[in-house]
């Protein structure tokens, strides 16, 4: 039987691998529709024929759950991630996030590339972290908000912006950037990608796929292993503990 997964577009690499592994392990076909979490959530609301929803953040999952569209007790935190400060590959030294002036100084008159700080999860995590670290005010006016993390990453790797905030997974995959700082995990809401079987799921395999996926996070399965930047399932569970599902914006 075929399982249809609605997944946040940034998960493509990871989920393509999981789908392949699932099939190799004797599972059925998996169709993944990659799009923005917001679009997917609205589509599920409008009766999309999806079996599993994988959101880029907890908010849109909560939105779907609040509408009663999630099958109770099927929600898991599939993957975890971290945010990092990146600079173009050839640039100088690390940036000390503890120093209240260092970030602004490193930017000089350049822009800080981020995903949209109001709308896109990566942007919101970044803004929360900067705020928690007391740096937001010093850089607020210099932020260039991209459509998504990938676009922010590209701004840095192309040298348009001297610094950017992206997922660790993105930084790891792009040789055009280097990580110049890591944000403390407690400086922002947990970065988790929740997955759930949807109330209207037609495929009985959906439940199994979800469980399978939760076991086989790319951190362990991938040949590149931990270097892909994903946090393991255990880390993910740990990170999520103690936070409300709906992060404050």
């Amino acid at each position: 039987d075929e399982v249809t997964v609605f997944a946040a577009a940034s998960l493509k690499t990871a989920l393509d691998e999981i789908a392949a592994a699932w099939k190799a392990a004797g599972g059925g076909e998996v169709r993944v529709s990659y799009a923005g979490s917001s679009a997917l959530a609205r589509q599920i609301e409008q009766g999309a024929p999806a079996d599993v929803f994988v959101s880029a953040d907890l908010d849109w999952m909560a939105h779907v759950r609040d509408k009663g569209l999630v099958r109770a007790g099927t929600e898991v935190r599939l993957l975890g991630n971290a945010i990092v400060l990146v600079a173009p590959a050839g640039s100088q030294g690390p940036v000390d996030l503890a120093d209240p002036l260092a970030l602004a100084a490193a930017l000089a008159d350049g822009r800080l590339a981020m995903a949209n700080v109001d709308a896109v999860p990566a942007g919101r995590y970044g803004k929360a972290a900067l705020t928690a670290l007391g740096l937001w005010r010093s850089v607020e006016a210099k932020v260039a908000q991209a459509d998504n993390v990938r676009a922010a990453l590209m701004l840095v790797s192309r040298g348009e912006a001297p610094l950017g905030i992206v997922y660790a997974t993105d930084a790891a995959a792009d040789p055009g950037v280097r990580i110049v700082a890591r944000f403390p995990a407690d400086s922002h809401p947990p970065i988790v990608y929740p997955a759930a079987v949807l109330a209207g799921a037609a495929s009985p395999d959906a439940r199994d796929l979800r469980r399978f996926s939760a076991r086989r996070t790319p951190a362990r399965s991938s040949r590149r292993g931990a270097s892909s930047g994903w946090t393991s399932r255990s880390q993910t569970e740990r990170l999520g503990r103690g936070h409300r599902d709906r992060s404050s914006r």
């Binding site: 799009a35 923005g36 589509q43 409008q46 999309a48 990938r150 790891a172």
Partner: protein, 236 residues
Amino acid sequence: MGRLAGFELSAEEWTAVALSLRVAAVATLFSLPPAVGVALLLARGRFPGHAILNGLVHLPLILPPVVTGYLLLIGFGRRGVIGAALAEHLGLVFSFRWTGAALAAAVMGFPLLVRAIRLAIEAVDRRLEDAAATLGAGPGIVFATVTLPLILPGILAGAILAFAKAMGEFGATITFVSNIPGETQTLASAIYTFMQVPGGDAGVLRLTLVSIAISMAALVASELLSRRIARRIETR
């Protein structure tokens, strides 16, 4: 999906190519008749709602495509007012089907199609239509035998714009019918997906080249056809 470099397409990508072609062709063909009708109304009609109709037609251009997609989702989705009615009475389902992708592409290309046809209609020498009328042709026949042949190059120009737009459109499509491989994943959405992951550039490049090749072929074909038609109706 695997293969990120190399220029052979994966099976899934071939599917996307085929789907894009089907979506673009169906979107263009099915929107032609209403576009001609609306263009006629706008070019010739003098009625109270003229400005409103004109505005409506341009709406998909004015709105960010995701908003258009969202409106389509609300209107033509399974739960949408129009979508539900169409599904019930005509068995016509758009939501999460390739037909929905075609609808989205048709809506997005509609203003381009209408404007091209309208310009062509406004360039028609109405004295020729008068002449046809004195020879016994009623309005419908005048249109079919005089106006339509004369605006064919304009229709073709509009159609090629709409087709190209349909090949490139993804904002409204992905918002309305999502990005389901084999069903609603067009070339443009596949390109978008590649753009979202690190290292997807090779995939982007590959699919973009395919998309360009197809549209170019359509463009060249339309130019040749249009030139043939134009030669026939030259007034020089």
